[in-house]
Subunit: 81 residues, 2 copies
């Protein structure tokens, strides 16, 4: 089973990396960019084939290692391999 995980800063948390990307794009001549937010994206290949157990495992991975839940949210999508 494949898990796709998006880890994004909670809204309201300052995103200096996104701000830097926006400024770089603007200085390259790209106009009309209101905001850029940068997050992380992870693809995990799991041997687990039960969706419920796989989701529980990935939730636990996010909470314990992948995301900093003080400032970050995570979203998990599962896909049959």
């Amino acid at each position: 089973m494949k898990a796709r995980v998006h880890i994004t800063l909670k809204s309201g948390v300052l995103d200096p990396q996104g701000r830097a990307v926006r400024n770089a794009l603007t200085s390259l001549g790209f106009d009309g960019i209101d905001d850029v937010r940068q997050g992380k994206y992870l693809e995990l290949d799991l041997t687990e084939s039960d969706a419920e157990r796989a989701r529980a495992a990935v939730e636990s991975m996010c909470a314990r290692l992948l995301a900093n839940t003080v400032i970050e949210d995570y979203q998990i999508e599962l896909e049959e391999a």
Copy 2:
């Protein structure tokens, strides 16, 4: 208009960051992880409201700044604001 951009390493390109995440998860006791690939995720708020023009602009941003197209692929999704 909102654009969501996924930037991932092309398949075949070694992903040491993903490997480190997999090893860290394994050492925390999470078994059954075959592989982890790490990518970037960007959300752009654009003033452009025409989907075709927005996509063309974001394609150009990816090719010129956001992605290293030698080793990375990008995928763009657009969403009405």
